[in-house]
């Protein structure tokens, strides 16, 4: 787990209980969780300040969409996993191709997705 232990995951999720579960699942899989962040501004600030290899993003943060953050991360070529209850059609077109996991999700599926998205070492 040393390999993954070094791997840091930015978690943006405004629902504490959901974030708690993500945190638990990722921690159990050996990842280090950066966050979770519950607001867009806090998330963006953290994304610029913190070091991380991958991000899991909730779309709706108390009414604010994380789109600006997504654009920024895409620009930085940081892998993104969207965690959302929204359907495909609710997303702006440009984000529909992003990897996505629907809520509620299975913890093991989350971990496997994260692993897939990380570049092979």
């Amino acid at each position: 787990m040393t390999l993954t232990g070094r791997c840091r995951v930015l978690v943006v999720e405004d629902e504490f209980l959901v974030a708690l579960q993500i945190e638990n699942d990722l921690a159990a899989a050996g990842y280090t969780v950066v966050g979770p962040f519950t607001s867009l501004s806090a998330s963006i600030a953290a994304s610029r300040a913190e070091h991380f290899e991958i991000a899991t993003l909730d779309l709706n943060l108390r009414g604010e969409f994380v789109y600006p953050l997504i654009d920024e991360l895409v620009a930085r070529c940081i892998p993104i996993l969207l965690l959302t209850g929204y359907a495909d059609s609710d997303l702006p077109e440009r984000f529909r191709a992003l990897p996505r996991l629907g809520k509620p999700f299975d913890g093991s599926l989350l971990v496997r997705k994260i692993a897939e998205l990380l570049p092979a070492e």
């Binding site: 209980l17 959901v18 708690l20 579960q21 979770p36 209850g85 929204y86 609710d90």
Partner: protein, 907 residues
């Protein structure tokens, strides 16, 4: 000079002043018998001497030829009055001299007279009458012996007096006979009287001889005798038998009078009479004629009669100044054609003289013409010009079969006929022209009347309203049938609103644009003041409230001088059209209302001209000022959101290509920068000919709908999100509950309770349509299972609140954990314990809640942080950004929660 004053003064003056009276007085006083007759021989005057000589006073105006009672020849034979010298003078138109007659008076006494009858001609040469002077020879005869007297008479007589023996031998030859026949007495004496008989008269002499032998007297036997030089002379023979003493006829005396002159004169007179009669008849006929042909006929008759020619013709200049035959007698078609157009004068000849060709053979004319004339058997010809009003108008021709000498009298008569004919033709032409003019006028009048009648009929029948005012004051206005019917008035009533009361129609009033027109402003009345009133439109409002609308023109009526004398107005009833227009306007207005109400606009794009028309509503949708749309597609595109331009162009191109319907949803940017969603529908008008046609349609602002749709989509997404989020939460709660609680049964109860608490808050939110619930409701729900009214173990106090869903759910979960904890371990776990929850809203945006327990078992600080505490502290902090403080005071747990409180949280 007054004759009455002048007469007594001087004899010369008397004669000069009273010539007529003087002449009569002189005649009356003359010692010579004088009487006068008119042309018919009726005695018109007789002087005293004549009456004495006649031994009677003749009946003036009745007696004829002679004043005498009876007349005898000198030999005693009766002489009828109508053969007396005066009668002969009047009949022959010449004086008679040298005749003796015996007048027998009423007293049977006789007187030998030598009458001297002399004709009187008037200025024109016509016989006016005669005057006779009677010389009484009675005294002279009785003064000398009869034989001497007779011998003297024989010697002195102008007449030839020849004595002949019974066998015809000449025995006496007076100087008169010698003068008349050219034979001296010695040459004639002893020869037979037949030396005087011309050839062809040979059987006269035996008869004369025979009759003389019988004692018969031959009176004035007119015959011809031959002179010595062979020439023939006309003579009148009077043969008296000569008897011897025993009464035996032994010979005869012949008195031979040369009557050549008198015969010629007689012939001349006959000619004159014929001429005069012909002229008279011509004059009479010309007075009566009514047509030009009759004039020609009368003229030809007169020419033939008076000029004694067998053929005649009349020619007149035609319009081309060519002389053409208009009437003729005895001329062949061939001849007329041959000489047609020939004229010795041109049409502009002045005072042309007649031309007489006495012998065609020697006339200086062309051979062709001569040939034609000769071929027609004409020997002599006369051209007599016809002149009217100084201008030559034609000629008439006289034709004679043989060469003919034209006497002056003939020429004079011809000219007289020409004058009459010319004048008559002119008169007829004038009359004809006048008749034609009159006829034309009559026809014009008739056609004018017909036209007027036609116009009246047209006017009456016209399906237009016609009003006529014949005076400028318009106090009387008439109209056609249509007018009366429309105005619901009896025909011929006065239509004028300016008419005197009683005459004025009262069943209608006239309005323009809702304003009642006073009479003087009515179009007809304005026109009657000289104004041209074009395209007036007025409403005629009737008593019953109905209206008719009329449209028309009014124009002044002017007299020949241009003065306005009235006016006429013609208009049509446009009520039905007006109603249609109004209906259309109404429907357009309804459409506008509909468009306005539906936030819709209408548009039309003419593909041929490129013009785009917008309804005012469409301009309003584009937030443009009215009338500022530029009318082009480009101007429209300016408003279109740049991202949607391509879409619109694609849709338009597709519609044009397929001529199918156009439908497009696009955004526009309004001048104030707002973005509005528009939806447009269009359809092509049917194509006609080469026209590209028009695309017409409507456009509506669907921004609200679009927003509502977005809202709905968002809501659906939101709901889905929330549900899934909630499930994620439930999943998390489940994991946490079961993973932290080793007692599965207990864990199940806890999970169950937490889910029910969550569901409870959801229910509350759903009841309020997710608009929010009060803190009191959330707390009551969580504390309800432990609340004992009789013990009053729960107290809630605070201002009214309205928690947004997230607040409600999170605070609900916190309240659930606090209540569960109190019931398990705290104040609500014992009968005496109670819980008080109070809250305040601080600084307007912080909700501060204080949960305090009392009366419960002694409080122990928890040995480990269970899920309940995690939930309580971390969830509130994380989800609401708030702070939670737990104080494990000995008298009971105190929990303070401080969270942001959005006063007006948007949904």
């Amino acid at each position: 000079m007054g004759s009455a004053e002048a007469r007594p003064n001087s004899s010369t003056e008397k004669i000069g002043a009273g010539r007529a009276l003087g002449a009569l007085a002189v005649l009356d006083a003359l010692p010579v018998a004088v009487y006068a007759t008119n042309a018919e021989g009726i005695i018109v005057y007789c002087n005293r001497a004549a009456a004495e000589l006649a031994g009677r006073q003749p009946q003036i105006g009745q007696d004829r030829w002679c004043v005498s009672w009876r007349l005898l020849w000198p030999d005693g034979s009766p002489l009828p009055h109508d053969e007396c010298p005066m009668a002969r003078t009047l009949k022959e138109g010449r004086p008679i001299r040298g005749m003796e007659v015996v007048a027998v008076r009423p007293d049977e006494s006789t007187v030998l007279l030598m009458p001297h009858p002399t004709p009187i001609f008037d200025e024109s040469g016509a016989l006016a009458g005669g005057v006779n002077v009677l010389v009484d020879f009675s005294g002279r005869r009785s003064a000398a012996p009869t034989s001497d007297y007779l011998a003297a008479v024989a010697e002195a007589s102008d007449d030839a007096i020849v004595a002949r023996h019974a066998n015809g031998i000449i025995t006496g030859w007076n100087p008169g006979a010698e003068r008349l026949f050219g034979y001296p007495a010695d040459e004639a004496m002893g020869r037979s009287i037949t030396i005087l008989t011309p050839a062809g008269y040979e059987n006269e002499e035996p008869e004369i001889r025979e009759r003389s032998r019988g004692g018969e007297r031959i009176e004035r036997y007119e015959t011809k005798r031959r002179r010595k030089d062979g020439t023939l002379i006309d003579v009148a023979l009077t043969v008296c038998p000569v008897r011897d003493a025993e009464g035996q006829v032994i010979g005869a005396s012949e008195i031979i009078r040369d009557i050549t002159e008198s015969k010629r004169a007689g012939e001349t007179l006959a000619t004159r009479l014929r001429e005069q009669a012909a002229l008279h008849v011509l004059t009479e006929r010309l007075q009566r004629v009514t047509d030009i042909v009759a004039i020609y006929e009368a003229a030809l008759d007169a020419i033939q009669t008076a000029l004694n020619c067998s053929r005649a013709s009349i020619l007149l200049f035609d319009a081309a100044a060519m002389m053409r035959f208009v009437a003729w007698r005895g001329l062949s078609e061939r001849y007329r054609q041959a000489v047609d157009g020939h004229s010795p004068w041109t049409a502009d000849a002045r005072d042309p003289e007649p031309i007489f060709v006495e012998d065609i053979a020697s006339a200086e004319i062309s051979d062709a013409l001569r040939q034609a004339i000769v071929a027609e058997g004409i020997g002599a010809v006369g051209f007599i010009p016809l002149v009217a009003e100084g201008k030559l108008i034609g000629k008439f021709m006289t034709y004679y079969d043989a060469p003919h000498g034209f006497a002056d009298t003939e020429i004079s008569v011809a000219l007289t006929i020409a004058r009459q004919l010319g004048f008559s033709i002119q008169r007829m032409r004038t009359e004809q022209a006048k008749r034609q003019a009159e006829e034309q006028l009559r026809r014009n009048e008739a056609s004018e009347r017909a036209r007027a009648a036609e116009l009246v009929a047209i006017m009456e029948a016209a399906p237009a309203l016609i009003w006529i005012a014949r005076t400028p004051d318009c106090r009387v206005i008439g109209g056609n049938r249509c007018s009366y019917e429309m105005l619901r008035l009896p025909p011929d009533s006065n239509l004028s609103l300016s008419a005197p009361p009683g005459e004025r129609p009262g069943n209608f009033r006239v309005f323009v644009a809702g304003r009642e027109l006073p009479p003087e402003e009515l179009p007809l009345q304005r026109a009657a003041r000289g104004e041209e009133v074009k395209n007036f439109e007025e409403e005629i409002r009737f008593d019953d409230g109905t209206s008719r609308y009329v449209f028309g023109n009014a124009t002044p009526l002017r007299d020949a001088a241009g003065e306005v004398i009235g006016a006429v107005a013609a208009s049509v009833d446009i009520t039905e059209r007006k109603q249609t227009e109004e209906a259309l306007q109404n429907s357009e207005r309804r459409l506008q209302i509909a468009l306005g109400a539906g936030r819709m606009g209408a548009w039309e794009w003419n593909l041929d001209s490129g013009q785009v028309i917008w309804s005012p509503g469409l301009e309003a949708l584009h937030h443009r000022e009215p009338g500022t749309f530029g009318g082009t597609l480009a101007d429209f595109k300016q408003d279109v959101h740049p991202e949607d331009l391509a879409l619109i162009e694609r849709e338009l191109a597709s519609a044009i290509e397929t001529r199918g319907d156009y439908h497009c949803i696009y955004r526009i940017t309004t001048p104030d920068g707002a973005i509005r969603w528009m939806e447009a529908f269009g359809q092509f008008s049917p194509r006609s000919g080469s026209s590209m046609g028009r695309l017409t349609g409507v456009c509506m602002d669907i921004t609200e709908r679009k927003e509502a749709e977005a809202q709905r989509n968002m809501l659906v997404a939101e709901l889905s999100h929330r549900v899934k989020n909630t499930l994620a939460i439930v999943s998390s709660i489940s994991r946490q509950t079961y993973s932290t609680n080793p007692d599965a049964h207990d864990a199940h109860r806890s999970f169950d309770a937490r889910i029910r608490a969550l569901a409870q808050t959801h229910t509350r939110l759903a009841e309020a349509s997710w608009s929010g619930v009060s803190l009191e409701t959330v707390l009551s729900d969580e504390l309800a299972p432990y609340h004992n009214n009789t013990k009053n173990n729960v107290a809630l106090a605070g201002p009214p609140t309205k928690l947004p869903p997230k607040h409600a759910l999170t605070l609900g979960m916190a309240a659930h954990e606090l209540a569960t904890n109190a019931a398990k371990h705290g104040a609500l776990s014992v009968k005496s314990g109670n819980v008080e929850v109070g809250w305040t809203i601080a600084a307007g945006d912080r909700l501060q809640i204080r949960w305090s327990e009392a009366g419960g078992p002694p409080v122990l600080a928890p040995t480990h942080n269970g899920f309940g505490r995690l939930l309580l502290e971390r969830v509130v902090a994380s989800d609401l950004g708030g702070e939670v403080h737990l104080e494990f005071a000995p008298q009971g747990l105190i929990c303070t929660i401080d969270v942001p409180y959005p006063l007006e949280t948007p949904r």
